[in-house]
Symmetry: C2
Subunit: 648 residues, 2 copies
């Protein structure tokens, strides 16, 4: 056996000779980002061999100087003797400090209150599907000697009007002792259906009706966010987020699906999201709020269709193969204990329904929270996450589609890209004369990479400064040490020199990165225009644009229009609505009325499959330009570019 | 550690010095009968120390000569060094070869057909609550790309009229692969409720609609019996029975309840009945019938209230404490996998409802199978198992009670008593002059003991031969080597001398045994008379007597009347209806109509608590006589005894 030691975590793992270094790290739960899932394509699994020799291949992701320093791609390296490996500090940062709505700022509070208003302003009650009732049951005597369970049912029939009452075996087993310990005074937690039926899921000694808690859970491909909620009144008691630990098995849903078909792949993915991601979040929230896990009796979760399959341990592979069929779009109610979630074992988990293979419950949740379903105006809703999903419509109709934008908005497939965590460059300005950048870094740390909003700014500024043309190609004739070309003549712009910041490598954007990003933004723009065109309308019909997703508050709408990510309409029509998936879960958890409305709305949404839509491919190719092949679609940008041309 | 070896099984178990020998045997799964559950009261756990010394106490159950040979009570013995123990061959016989309806004889066939007629002759359909349907589902295309689960639901809605279809997570997980392996041609097994709702519990490739199987299960305190049933037509494919492995923890429900409150006691009892009793029976039946356990998708079980609690792992201790409250009388539907039963994991187990703490679902089943509920005549139904339960009534009303008869009818608390297995003396005649017995032994083996029907015969014959008086005391002045008295002047009659049969000890009945048996029969008789008196009627109202339970076919009605177990009415009114609990389970499994009828009948039965019924104790004491204090109640017996007195 070979000893593999990983720094800075100082984790030592035994390995077989010839074992793949990335697999060794996964086995030991050492996080190495691998969005392409070990195909040596993305270059993100770069690690440094500090001591010992390995059997590795070169890669265009590793520069000559790096190779001399010992850098290798973990996915393309075999261990052959005892080694010490240093993983990038960046790597482990992916799992912590993810930016989500912390709701402490007034802007976040406004987003939260806006979502709540979708329920409150539409005649729906804030009344969860789960209830608590304190009951004092008649004590048994020789003359009244019916069974404990019959006694409970009789009480509920006579006092609360439930004629049919159910429970499951684990609950039944606890009844005799709870009744006697409490002197037959207990609080039941139950799930009514209709007026006369209910299912008891928990029973506590004495009156605990003031403690009724639930969890809302947004399960993203990249990150998972959760609220712990007081179901009376809806106060948030705790919130938490973390990177989805499945990331080590691939950055996007396609790579995850591919990994799921490997030996034990599905089990590992399910384990990663439940035991390495959700349960630690839950424990943290319970501890922060000072409640016991057995007091948590309601769970609502949303995620894209693949995430829902992986959460439940259902093979998602048919999602990837034509004709792209999910196993389910509406999951049955599932017991927390079936998934080993940290909660009362009798807790039911409700998962928001998906619309299609690539429009999941996170979008259903977003539709609910955004309020499109009640809007008189025509709204376009764009969720910029690891993929891009779009909904268009108003209170009368809703159409939706997914565009394969990939993970670029979260820094994926960009050489210095990273998620919106501490150290990420989130805003960029470039001086048009000196080509020097001005950058803003999350938490004011030393720069580690550049996140989605930063990339948007950067490309828009490079375009306006004339560093790149509308195809994204770098001008070969500019006098700047920040612009350089490698042996293959691929150009790059240096956003941060390593010597300026004392970091291990320069933070740059290459022509390949820009090309990747243009494809991503082109996919979103062409998705928006195709969706609206499919209804025989054009972009002028849009009254409002809601932007949701992990791209975050820092996004500049101006810059996003300048690169052609969003259509060129009045800036006032745009609104950032935060993590609308999590907000929708919260509303579903809090309001049975909202849950029903959401199910009704989900059932009425029309899905447009872009990949088979006749004009989509042309639209997409036209959109792979800055801002667009047809510049007339972007009159304000055209003006800016003309002005810039004129000024030069 | 000490080495304890048990013969004849040659099982070796490690034990702590000072550990109780009975506990060591239980731990190693060596069966030693212990009806009194280790209180040194019954003497049934007698074993022989072949080698080594033990720390033991004497007992009146062990004769001086036996003590010299090394016999000890396992429950009252501590291990102190390496030993070899011989358990009685009898002991392990309890677990095999129990006599149950093998349905091969015409008498058994008649019992079976009689039970089936209760459904067929009363306008009810033989149609199980579980169904199979073969469906050919539309294959998905890009234009018809709804999820697998939605596709199944759509098919069932459009083709079979089910508007609401449910499944649970394990089923959902299997759907994508089954659909694709089968080319979307599958057979679903499902449980409809009403016309429009159903729950899918299994899915198989291709058309398997001709294979739909269920199991009926009678869980007795002493023995467990099962049928494997073809749910189309109701044919019995296999049957099996075995002793309830809980016996090692006590012979009757009270001792089992007491054991359940010990550390891990409940878990051990539940494990014993499921893993050591039911699952081996199931495996045997599946193998006999050549079916796979996953094809078994319906389970119906009945047992007394305590057995049902122990089966489900629900504490039964409140059954034993005033006011004697069960945790439940109607159990929820339970998944086979929750109990680790050998069946398709999605199979639901239905447990027949109990009426009261000591009138269980086995009696509900018996009422259904016996047909009292549809009878114009007044029927008394007596189940003679480990306890005695009685039902009286007709199609208009039904009353029921339990009498604490104990295990005497199955040989319990009788020194040479045993269950009706091979080697049991089941019939006895005694020559009035020579006092020599003529015996009939089950399977014509060498005699090992005497079972319930044999004890009834023996006591009746001893009474008629003048060996005992009507109090059960042995005549001190009879010239027979079969009649003898011990040092305490307790008399006994020798039914089989060990030297005549080459067995290890004489088979006898003592005055203590007779006294125990008289109390048991007195409990049943006084139960019958009290129950009928409670309605303001007397025994002359009885049109029919149905006898059910493990006492079996060999029971002589004449002898049972002679000792005063049954009331002295015309012999033609009696009918033995076999294991009516198992028959009732079979009917419930086969017919949803019958299940509903049975639930309705169960809900209408009136329970009479004898222990608090004013006249019961007087009735009981009067009945503790042969045949009764008031001989005029038994005119035919009076005549026989007078005739015998005259003839002597």
């Amino acid at each position: 056996m070979i000893n593999v030691k990983f720094l800075p975590a100082a984790i030592e793992i035994k390995a077989e000779k010839g074992e793949n270094l990335l697999e060794v790290a996964r086995r030991g739960n050492v996080f190495i980002d691998a969005p392409c899932n070990g195909t040596a394509a993305c270059g993100k699994c770069k690690v440094k061999v500090i001591e010992g020799n390995v059997d590795t291949n070169g890669s265009h992701h590793i520069k000559e100087v790096e190779m001399k320093e010992g850098y290798v791609l973990a996915c393309d390296t075999k261990v052959i003797e005892d080694i010490i490996i240093e993983t990038s500090a960046n790597q482990s940062d992916y799992l912590v400090g993810m930016k989500i709505e912390d709701l402490s700022g007034p802007k976040d509070q406004a987003i939260f209150e806006r979502a709540r208003a979708q329920v409150l302003n539409n005649g729906m009650r804030f009344c969860s599907y789960i209830k608590k009732d304190y009951i004092e049951i008649d004590i048994p005597t020789l003359n009244d000697n019916i069974s404990d369970w019959d006694r409970i049912k009789r009480h509920l029939r006579n006092n609360l009007g439930y004629s049919k009452v159910f429970c499951r075996l684990p609950m039944l087993r606890r009844i005799p002792s709870i009744l006697r310990e409490s002197g037959f005074k207990v609080t039941i937690t139950h799930i009514p259906r209709g007026d006369s039926r209910t299912t008891i899921v928990n029973m506590e000694i004495g009156d605990t009706t003031n403690r009724l808690y639930g969890v809302a859970l947004d399960i993203g491909t990249t990150s998972v966010a959760a609220f712990l909620v007081d179901l009376y009144g809806g106060k948030l008691l705790a919130k938490a987020s973390a990177g989805n630990a499945q990331m080590k098995y691939g950055g996007d849903v396609i790579h995850r699906i591919m990994y799921s078909t490997k030996k034990n792949g599905l089990e590992k993915l399910t384990y990663a999201v439940i035991h390495e991601t959700i349960n630690p979040l839950l424990r943290k929230m319970y501890s922060d709020a000072g409640i016991d896990k057995n007091e948590v009796t309601a769970f609502v979760a949303a995620g894209n269709t693949t995430m829902c399959h992986l959460l439940l341990g259902v093979y998602p592979d048919n999602l990837r193969l034509e004709p792209y069929i999910p196993a389910f779009s509406r999951a049955p109610f599932i017991k927390a204990s079936e998934l080993e979630l940290e909660a009362n074992p009798e807790t039911f988990l409700y998962i928001l329904p998906s619309i299609a293979s690539y429009v999941g419950g996170d979008i259903t949740a977003g539709v609910l929270a955004s309020g499109i379903w009640t809007s008189e105006e025509n709204v376009i809703f764009i969720d910029l996450g690891t993929n891009g999903e779009i909904v268009f419509g108003n209170k009368d109709y809703l159409v939706t589609c997914a565009c394969s934008a990939g993970p670029a908005f979260e820094g994926g497939e960009i050489s210095s890209g990273m998620r919106a965590a501490g150290g990420a460059i989130e805003r960029v300005e470039i001086d048009k004369n000196s080509f020097q950048p001005k950058i803003k870094i999350i938490n004011n740390e030393e720069p580690k990479g550049i996140c989605g909003s930063g990339i948007i700014d950067l490309i828009a500024e490079m375009l306006k400064a004339g560093i790149i043309d509308r195809k994204g190609k770098i001008n070969r004739n500019l006098p700047s040490n920040r612009i350089r070309f490698d042996e293959y003549n691929i150009g790059e712009y240096v956003l941060a020199f390593k010597d300026d910041w004392d970091i291990h490598e320069d933070i740059t954007i290459t022509e390949i990165d820009i090309d990747n990003f243009i494809k991503a933004k082109g996919a979103v723009y062409s998705g928006v225009s195709t969706l609206i065109n499919s209804l025989g309308m054009d972009l002028s019909i849009i009254d409002k644009v809601y932007i949701a997703g992990g791209i975050g508050n820092s996004l500049s709408i101006d810059r996003a229009i300048e690169i052609g990510l969003f259509p060129d309409i009045e800036k006032e029509k745009f609104m950032y609505i935060g993590n609308s998936s999590l907000m929708g879960c919260y509303l579903t958890l809090m309001s049975e009325d909202a849950r029903r409305k959401m199910e009704e709305v989900a059932g009425q949404m029309t899905y447009i499959e872009l990949s088979t839509y006749p004009s989509y491919m042309d639209e997409f190719i036209s959109a792979c330009f800055l801002p667009h092949t047809d510049i007339e679609r972007f009159p304000t940008v055209e003006k800016k570019l003309q002005h810039q041309d004129g000024s030069n």
